[in-house]
């Protein structure tokens, strides 16, 4: 193979690899990206059922209820404008408590409630997830 041809082949391969990676990534993103919902989004339009999504907001005060099985909790996520009931089985993170920010990973059920597989509360108690901060700010300004 002539040097020039080899260089062209290699460049071609590299371009193909980049395009292939981008194509694969973007097509997989269509199906796998977990959209983020705030309670007021859910109130506006019905969320997709049974697709991995995230729900974020503040844990409503007085809403955490322990279920009889001892490992399941039910609570309400709010962003000031709307509320969504959430159920979670597992050990809640250390910083999960009422009146603080939480991001729940899981799925919506047909009745509009949310089943969380995982709860994220931040390491830092002063922290609020950026998505939650953004959405709360919006809902405060739009619907005072």
């Amino acid at each position: 193979m002539k040097p020039k041809h080899q260089r062209l082949t290699l460049v071609g391969l590299a371009v193909a690899a980049v395009l292939g990676a981008s194509g694969l990534a973007l097509s997989a993103l269509q199906g796998e990206a977990a959209f983020f919902y705030a309670p007021s989004d859910v109130a506006k339009a019905a969320p997709p059922v049974d697709r991995a999504v995230r729900l974020g907001g503040m844990v409503a005060p007085g809403s955490i209820q322990r279920q009889p099985d001892g490992v399941t909790i039910a609570f309400t996520v709010t962003d000031g404008a709307a509320q969504v009931p959430v159920r979670f089985s597992g050990i809640a993170p250390d910083l999960f408590k009422e009146n603080s920010g939480v991001v729940a990973e899981g799925r919506f059920r047909p009745d509009g409630s949310f089943v969380a597989d995982n709860l994220l509360a931040k390491h830092d108690e002063r922290y609020m997830p950026p998505e939650v901060a953004g959405k709360m700010h919006k809902s405060e300004t739009l619907e005072p």
Binding site: L24, L29, G70, E125
Partner: protein, 651 residues
């Protein structure tokens, strides 16, 4: 006084970085023509000592910061915000880099020390390229000095000084913090050396085997640190977060994985350049990409624009500063690459079936994985710009990276069995026969013994067995005592990949989990273990109190006790859970104590994770292999007789 001295050292170091850049640029320009005056040579001669002094000054500044933390000097804002007088000494020291300003100072210090190390140790590189390299290193340092001094001064004073500090995030109060960030930063910033080498070589148009041989040990060194840092970080997150997972595809993790992927590709392509004088442009490109990924990673972690489970010190207002640096350096390097790469001669060619081709395949697959991880990590940012909030997590990465990584494993098994320059497909087939049979046997065995195993885990287990055999095959029939150390290094690193892969596949396929609210005296069965909650009691630590679950662990006739805790820290007020992990040769029992529930019961989460330790053992093997390789290369370079013989062999 100490804080002021540290700040002064930083300013001085910044001034020296400027001097280093200007001296290198002017010196190279003035000595380019034959009729150069003496001034140019003097400027060039100044570059090395300046680089050394600059490195020492940054180290002095970091030392000053550590000292004010050790003394808990609360009149320094950073200490007041991140430390506490009642904290154990190790964490006082570690708190110096457990925050934004301190970690950026550590970054700059490693950068300065890397420049000093080049100036002191690098003997093989062409002198002009070396000067250009140090100029490049100074250019990077300048930007980060500016960032540190203008936007995040670690030595800012607080007046009046508070009576007590706010304390360090309890999750960071772990020996891991003392070692993990420095290790990772040595890796991240060590790649700046490869970047500067690439800049230097582009400036002097000197891309060839000599350049590659000079660059290789630096890349290896940075890569070893990165490997260790990622492995240790994964284990740290595993036991500290208490979620039972070892990799979350979190932006901060991806930020360390991306430079590693690029550095791994670079490590292999630089070998092609050093041994066969091929892949010149590609290697230079990868060197630029590798450090660019380090900077992208720093940007993602420092700016806090992505939600992460690990981000511990973020300040969004500084994101734009790092973004500007990022655009400046990556854009500048790519422009230089575009302008100069046409003048780099084409290197040696090779056949489609050859070691070189195998390494090209390795590079392509690594680049594809890098591209996917990059897109997946940045996609939420792009979506955010379009006012859509989303996150990209394990389902995406496992689905896309998983299959390609398995392809890479196949390439990895075959690559070292190929000959340089030209090989025969049927000969390769014969050499691959045993690994292929082992893979098939393992595949059937898993299918029979554990039907219902997921496809990725199944292939992972089978391929890890095949790869384990293939990776030691290069030693087959050789005199082991005469085998060069770097060949051992390659074998051990590749074996480490097999070991790690086996651990990942086993963990994802065979983990057993139990989630209960257990009363005192109740027994749970998880995997081969029987775990009995004997009681719950309060305990007191140096700066925390805790609820501790005392549990009896039985396996056959063996019996031991574990005590997972829920800790409460007063400063800042936080709870953490300390998982209890029991290790056996065939896996780990992982127990987390949760909240109290009704009737005096306690939430417990127990996992049996077969062979999970192989994940980190494999990571350690990969790093050890790298270290052997590095020592072997340096040792051989020191013996000129050997080198002459090598040259003959190549000719």
């Amino acid at each position: 006084m100490i804080a002021e001295a540290g700040l002064a050292a930083l300013w001085l170091a910044a001034a020296l970085a400027l001097l280093q850049l200007v001296a290198a640029a002017l010196g190279l320009r003035m000595t380019r023509t034959e009729t150069a005056g003496a001034g140019g040579a003097e400027l060039i001669g100044a570059v090395r000592p300046v680089a050394v002094v600059q490195g020492l000054l940054t180290a002095f500044a970091l030392g000053a910061l550590v000292l004010v933390f050790v003394r808990t000097d609360l009149s320094v804002l950073l200490v007041a915000q991140n430390s506490h007088s009642a904290k154990p000494m190790l964490y006082k020291v570690a708190a110096a880099w457990g925050n934004h300003e301190g970690s950026m100072l550590l970054w700059v210090t490693v950068l300065g020390l890397a420049g000093a190390a080049i100036a002191l140790l690098e003997k093989r590189l062409d002198p002009r390229t070396l000067v250009a390299t140090l100029g490049g290193q100074a250019a990077i340092a300048l930007g980060f000095f500016a960032f540190l001094l203008i936007a995040s001064n670690p030595f800012a004073r607080l007046d009046p000084a508070p009576a007590e500090g706010m304390g360090l995030n309890p999750l960071l109060q772990d020996p891991g913090l003392a070692f993990h960030p420095p290790t990772l930063y040595f890796g991240y910033v060590g790649l700046s050396v490869a970047f500067s080498f690439a800049i230097g070589a582009l400036v002097t148009r000197d891309v060839g085997p000599q350049f590659a041989r000079a660059m290789r040990p630096w890349v290896l060194g940075a890569w070893i640190f990165l490997t260790l840092g990622i492995t240790a970080g994964s284990y740290w997150a595993y036991y500290e977060l208490g979620w039972g997972g070892w990799w979350f595809w979190d932006p901060v993790e991806n930020a360390s994985l991306m430079p590693w992927l690029a550095a791994t590709a670079l490590l292999h392509s630089v070998t092609v350049l050093a041994t066969r004088d091929g892949l010149r442009a590609w290697t230079v490109m990868l060197a630029v990409v590798a450090f660019s990924m380090s900077m992208v990673g720093t940007f993602l972690v420092r700016s806090g624009i992505l939600t992460s489970v690990h981000a511990f010190a973020v300040d969004p207002s500084r994101g734009s500063f790092i973004l500007a640096l990022l655009v400046l350096y990556i854009g500048g390097a790519l422009t230089l690459f575009g302008l100069r790469i046409g003048t780099v001669r084409q290197g040696a060619t090779f056949e489609p079936i050859s070691r070189e081709a195998g390494l090209v395949l390795n590079n392509l697959l690594l680049s594809v994985i890098l591209g996917i991880v990059l897109i997946g990590t940045l996609y939420p940012l792009v979506a955010q710009a379009l006012d859509v909030q989303l996150s990209v997590g394990p389902p995406f990465f496992n689905k896309t990276v998983g299959p390609i990584a398995l392809l890479l494993v196949v390439a990895l098994a075959a690559g070292p069995l190929l000959r340089w320059r030209r090989d025969d497909a049927r000969a390769l087939g014969r050499r691959m026969l045993v690994p292929a049979v082992v893979t098939a046997v393992a595949l059937v065995a898993v299918l029979l013994l554990a039907p219902g195993t997921g496809v990725l885990s199944l292939l992972g287990l089978a391929l890890s067995a095949g790869l384990a055999v293939a990776s030691v095959a290069p030693l087959w029939g050789r005199n082991l005592r005469r085998t060069p150390l770097f060949t051992w290094g390659m074998v051990i690193s590749h074996l480490g990949v097999a070991v790690s892969l086996a651990g990942m596949a086993s963990e994802s396929a065979f983990t057993r989990e139990v989630l209960v609210a257990a009363g005192v005296g109740e027994t749970q069965q998880v995997g081969p273990y029987r775990v009995t909650l004997e009681g719950v009691r309060p305990v007191i630590g140096p700066n925390w109190t805790a609820i501790e679950g005392r549990m009896r662990v039985e396996r056959g006739s063996q019996r031991s006790w574990i005590a997972p805790q829920q800790r409460y820290f007063a400063a800042p007020p936080t709870e953490t859970s300390e998982a209890a992990i029991t290790s056996a040769l065939d896996g780990q029992l992982y127990v987390v104590l949760g909240q109290a529930s009704e009737g005096g019961r306690r939430q417990l989460r127990l996992w049996w994770k077969p062979l999970v330790t192989l994940i980190w053992l494999g990571g350690a093997l990969i790093a050890i292999g790298g270290l052997l390789s590095l020592v072997g290369r340096l040792w051989r370079e020191r013996r000129p007789g050997r080198r002459a013989r090598d040259a003959e062999v190549l000719a």
